[in-house]
Amino acid sequence: MPLRKRSEPSPDTPAIRVRGLEKVYKMGVERVRALDGVDLDIARGEFVAIMGASGSGKSTLMNMLGCLDRPSAGEYELAGIPTRRMNAARLAKVRNERIGFIFQTFELLPRATAIQNVMLPMIYSRKHAFGARGRAKSALRRVGLGDRMRHRPNQLSGGQRQRVAIARALVNEPAILLADEPTGNLDSNTTTEIIRLFTDLHAEGQTIVIVTHEEEVAGYAQRIVRLRDGKVFSDGPTGEDALHLAYLQSMAGAAARRAGEGASA
């Protein structure tokens, strides 16, 4: 008897397939359309940045992609598995086995050591019940914290904390890595450090979706999806994204001005 043998998705199945996704919140008597018919495909191995002003629905979309919330309408398939009819327990299992979360505020357990924090998802996993410690160690080494395993969050810098969180997200080998403003609480040096880690992971074939409002961070992604009023406003490779190009130009201009000022001084 095949034991829990799920139909493994074929390599060309997209990691994320979203069709007509809607989310309506009731705020008192008012109904707020946070998502209003979003279509989105993210292939395996892609590195996508989701951008948008606050209230554009990017956080809501993130929650949907992360199976933390259920859409009011529409379809969402994660690695070929439709999630529409899943109950809370099944969604928890999907989150556990297929999704790695990275939060702006890290969300580490303050009293647990780095390795204990990384082991957290495996506590709830059937698949990864054995060898949890070894897996956690290798995940921590992967993010460059091989020498900080027994440190508690308050003994670590902001960048190190986010690395622990990334190790935790990676430890169950998720189909997608979802990062919600992962650099929002970090200084620019640390931001670069963390974003390099993302590009490295991407180079190894990890599918990454990152929500950010920083053009600089989005610049590292292959593709930028912009949301406005709950709809996809633009979607294309980073090199073709008009707003991003404008940003790069303004940055180049500023750099040039600074260089000019430096020369004239």
Partner: protein, 413 residues
């Protein structure tokens, strides 16, 4: 396997949480600690008292029945005590017609002079009994033989004595076959019965010299003497009620008493006192259990309160755990386990304190509490109660935690 692992992790987690909030946890469980300690000590004290009293009653034996003539209040002055005394025919009737009575013997008492050589006891306790006495009274015949039917029928001058009598009369170690003078007649010692230790509670005190003679022989010594009381045995300790009814019926019909009339006899069954005492102590234990129930209720509310605090304090943590894949049921079990562990720790501390109280109680001089000890069932009950309290009062906060929306929980601050 996965369940055991998860449960172990949950318990470790719960212990960690409790350790992290030591003072809070301690204060929270105080209600349960005090409740359990109080009930454990109370139950142990009651059990100790019970053990003491039952041990006292045990010296009687569980199947003994005492029957004696009695002049009831309504007949004082009209009836003489001598007339109320039991007759040997009445005893025979009881033996024949009361099926619950397996054996019966009269007790006839006299205080007579007993001599052996140079030694004499002025007023020795002489008891006239039938051979059935040996079946009722569990007193071993150490030397020689017991009374038999021939001794009774042939009115032999046979004598059973106890060790104390050997001492007092300076008889040989094995006095069987020796002759002593009792009330001026020669009696041959046919056996030695063991000395009975009657507890101080029933006026036995130290043992004294005893001389047993066949009842029929006793009637020769003093034809006018009356039967002080009859000692009978019933077929089982549970037959007390039947025995009472049957003896009552036989004696009433022989004495021509109406059913409403006051009886001119008494039937005393020590086992009935034992039963009544057992019921009483069971009632006391139940009362103590009720008190512990109330204190556990109060303690449980404290636990619920602290668990609610814990859930709202750790909302973000719950959100995170859910985000990384904890199912609602797992969160529920986690918080439930924490409540139960908290209660069980309180229970354990309570049992320890209770045990200390028991040790202290035993030090009280002259209190009949040497037998005080915590019965295992009380420990099991206390632990069970605590676990149930944990579940009952932990379930509401746990459900609250399990139902938290992960997004809302993660945004909580």
């Amino acid at each position: 396997m996965i369940v055991v692992r998860l449960l172990m992790q949950t318990v470790v987690l719960a212990l960690g949480q409790i350790w992290a909030n030591k003072v809070r946890s301690m204060l929270t469980t105080l209600g349960i600690v005090i409740g359990v300690a109080a009930v454990v000590a109370t139950v142990a004290a009651i059990e100790g008292l019970r053990g003491f009293v039952l041990a006292e009653f045990e010296t009687f034996g569980a199947t003994k029945v005492f029957i004696a003539g009695n002049v009831p209040q309504s007949k004082r002055g009209v009836m003489r005590w001598r007339d109320a005394a039991l007759k040997i025919e009445e005893l025979d009737a009881i033996e024949r017609h009361a099926p619950s009575v397996t054996a019966i013997t009269p007790h006839w008492f006299a205080a007579s002079r007993v001599e052996y050589g140079q030694n004499a006891i002025e007023s020795a306790r002489v008891v006239g009994i039938r051979p059935q006495w040996h079946d009722i009274e569990n007193r071993q015949v150490r030397e020689g033989r017991p009374f038999n039917v021939l001794d009774e029928e042939q009115r032999r001058y046979a004598l059973l004595i106890n060790a104390r009598a050997i001492e007092e009369l300076n008889l040989p170690i094995n006095p069987v076959g020796e002759y002593v003078l009792l009330a001026g007649r020669r009696f041959m010692i046919i056996g030695v019965v063991e000395t009975l230790e009657i507890s101080a509670m029933f006026g036995g005190g130290e043992s004294r010299a005893e001389f047993f003679v066949p009842f029929s022989t006793a009637m020769i010594l003093n034809p006018n003497a009356v039967i002080s009381y009859a000692l009978a045995s019933m077929r089982s300790p549970q037959a007390a009620e039947d025995t009472r009814t049957e003896v009552d019926f036989v004696l009433r019909s022989m004495r021509g008493l109406d059913p409403e009339e006051d009886a001119t006899f008494n039937v005393e069954i020590p086992q009935e006192y034992v039963d009544r005492f057992k019921a009483l102590s069971a009632g006391l234990v139940a009362g103590a259990a009720g008190i512990v129930g109330i204190s556990l209720l109060v303690g449980g509310i404290g636990i619920m309160n602290i668990m609610l605090v814990s859930v709202s304090e750790r909302t973000r943590e719950i959100g995170l755990r859910k985000a990384v894949g904890a199912r609602p049921a797992v969160i529920l079990v986690q918080f439930l386990t924490e409540a139960v562990v908290l209660c069980l720790m309180g229970g354990a501390v309570g049992i320890a304190i209770g045990q200390a109280i028991i040790v202290a109680l035993k030090q009280i001089p002259n209190a009949p509490l040497e037998h005080a000890s915590m019965p295992m069932w009380a420990v099991a009950l206390a632990v069970g109660f605590c676990a149930v309290t944990g579940v009952v009062f932990g379930v509401f906060p746990a459900i609250k935690a399990a139902r938290l929306d992960p997004i809302v929980a993660l945004r909580h601050d």
